[in-house]
């Protein structure tokens, strides 16, 4: 497939935002149970939510560049019964709304006790919004990933690993960003967040490696023989019906030599996994710069990862477009 930068930005930006929100609420939950010190709520939760919201808006704006008719985008909410894309379009604004309200509640110090958990733990609106946001963040990961994983023709994507990768890679970049952000707003949480960022990054390495291993061994279901229905081992295309390009030759081919594909793969395998873990380690020792660099490296790596994700998918329609003339 031809990687579209609009979709690369959309999926990586909202993935980071979802991970960041999960990091914020994880820290709040730990602090509620007195497992972590209580950070400055205005700076950490309030501004953190604002940062997540900014990333979500950035992703949403990027997604509009993928559409031929962005002014009709509202129509996409209608077919949620069958289309994962439609479901994503519903869940994304809902998640943005909850992130906004969560940040606002922290910013306004709105902590009326709504109920008390057994054990005397008070539940305030930020906890309710945090749980709702967590559920929506996971729902959004599933919707985004299922857009790709539900397409059975694209064997590289049609796997539960796609969903797991979106959750873990989004979570890893979100926790890395949270660790770098905490260095400025809540230094007492850096160790906790950086630790989780490293753990999720390692889990992401396992699942992404598993999908690379799986994809390298795929056997295409469709062949030249089934594509035109002629049972002969040797079929060579002599003409594809035109000599200039068409949508079919632009949308489904990445157009890069194998060396570029291999280079991008090794770049993302380094930039998403070992480099951030190393930098997070230095960050926990007290280097704010290392924490910022860890996130930047991981985000750049994730853009390469998403590019590779698209480029590696081999669409069966390509069988009909093997040679120009």
């Amino acid at each position: 497939m031809h990687p579209a930068f609009s979709v690369i930005f959309l999926t990586t930006l909202i993935g980071t935002a979802q991970g960041l929100f999960l990091a914020l609420f994880t820290a709040q939950s730990y602090a509620a149970f007195k497992l972590l010190p209580q950070p400055d709520a205005h700076a950490f939760y309030g501004q953190g939510s604002l940062l997540a919201l900014a990333l979500l808006v950035g992703g949403l704006v990027a997604s509009f560049f993928h559409l031929g008719h962005p002014e009709r985008a509202w129509r996409t909410a209608t077919k949620w019964r069958t289309s994962w894309l439609s479901r994503e379009v519903i869940v994304l604004p809902a998640f943005m709304g909850v992130v906004f309200l969560y940040g606002l509640a922290h910013w306004l110090d709105w902590h009326p006790v709504l109920m008390t958990l057994p054990g005397g733990l008070p539940v305030d609106p930020t906890a309710i919004l945090g749980v709702a946001g967590t559920l929506l963040a996971f729902a959004l990961f599933v919707c985004t990933a299922m857009i790709y994983a539900c397409l059975k023709f694209l064997a590289e994507w049609h796997s539960p690993l796609t969903v797991i990768n979106y959750i873990l890679l989004g979570g890893a970049s979100g926790f890395s960003l949270a660790a770098a952000f905490a260095a400025f707003t809540a230094p007492e949480l850096v160790g906790f967040l950086a630790g989780w960022a490293a753990i999720i990054t390692l889990l992401g390495l396992i699942s992404r490696s598993a999908s690379l291993y799986r994809n390298a061994r795929l056997k295409p279901k469709s062949t030249m023989q089934t594509a035109i229905g002629i049972k002969h081992p040797r079929i060579v295309q002599k003409a594809q019906g035109f000599m200039g390009g068409s949508f079919n030759t632009r949308e489904f081919f990445h157009g890069q030599p194998v060396a570029v594909l291999r280079g991008v793969k090794w770049f993302f395998l380094l930039a998403v996994f070992p480099v951030p873990i190393l930098l997070l380690f230095f960050g926990v020792q007290g280097s704010i710069g290392a924490l910022v660099l860890a996130f930047i490296a991981q985000y750049a790596g994730l853009m390469a990862e998403r590019w590779f994700f698209f480029a590696q998918a081999n669409h069966p329609q390509n069988l009909y477009y093997q040679s120009i003339a």
């Binding site: 031929g68 129509r75 069958t82 289309s83 894309l85 469709s222 079929i235 035109f242 949308e251 009909y320």
Partner: protein
């Protein structure tokens, strides 16, 4: 339930591209808007087409055959492009099984093209909506045309009658009989899309002519068997008599 479809006979398609130009000519003049071309006279022309004819070489020289392969939307009975559409712009008509795109609802997200294993859908760069073969839905029901013209324009254009059009759910229709009796098959059956369009395979045509079919046995004009025998091209009773 009706399922309109094309049946394409690869045995007689000569790859003349008449169906391609006829399709473009009819559909670019249609009420749904033109099928735009970009850079049509430049070095790298491109544009929207509903139908293409491709050419494949099968076998190894000298035992090769050239197969011309017309390719358009197959109007699947279970079209994978329809459920993925987030707006409902892509739909399959209940009354005749034609898969269509509502150009006023389509947002041009290209998701349906990813979900089609045949590459039957194209984004029109000019209108920024997805387009595909409509089976000339604006033609086959047009009562102002004589009945013989109420067929897709590719079918009308084909000089070798390689394209048949009809209801594949009606067992007595021309297309159903062709599929049944000439070994009609569907493309990429492994995906379970059940394409309505079918293809008829290449066939070897051999005619065995026996000698007594060239010369009438028991020709009454030659019954005396005198030598020299009259040549084969001399008249027989059939040639000199009107029965």
């Amino acid at each position: 339930m009706t399922q309109l479809a094309l049946v394409i006979d690869l045995n007689v398609c000569v790859g003349c591209q008449a169906c391609v130009t006829s399709c473009k000519e009819w559909n670019t003049a249609g009420s749904a808007g033109p099928m735009g071309d970009q850079n049509p006279y430049g070095a790298d022309p491109t544009g929207t087409f509903f139908n293409r004819v491709q050419t494949f070489e099968v076998g190894e020289f000298p035992n090769t055959e050239t197969v011309h392969f017309p390719k358009s939307c197959l109007h699947c009975e279970d079209p994978p492009c329809v459920p993925v559409c987030p707006t409902g712009a892509s739909y399959k008509r209940k009354e005749d099984g034609i898969v269509l795109v509502n150009y006023d609802k389509c947002i041009g997200c290209k998701y349906c093209s990813w979900a089609c294993p045949y590459g039957a859908r194209e984004l029109d760069e000019q209108q920024q909506v997805m387009k595909k073969c409509t089976l000339c839905v604006d033609r086959i029901y047009d009562m102002s045309m004589v009945e013989a013209d109420r067929k897709p324009s590719c079918v009308k254009a084909c000089p070798t009658s390689a394209r048949l059009f009809g209801d594949v759910h009606d067992p007595e229709s021309e297309v159903s009989i062709a599929i049944r009796e000439s070994g009609g098959y569907a493309l990429m059956p492994e995906w379970g899309t059940h394409p309505a369009n079918h293809y008829l395979p290449r066939r070897k045509t051999r005619i065995k002519i026996h000698e007594d079919e060239l010369e009438r046995a028991g020709n009454p004009l030659k019954v005396d068997r005198q030598l020299p025998r009259p040549a084969l091209n001399e008249p027989t009773l059939d040639d000199v008599t009107t029965w």
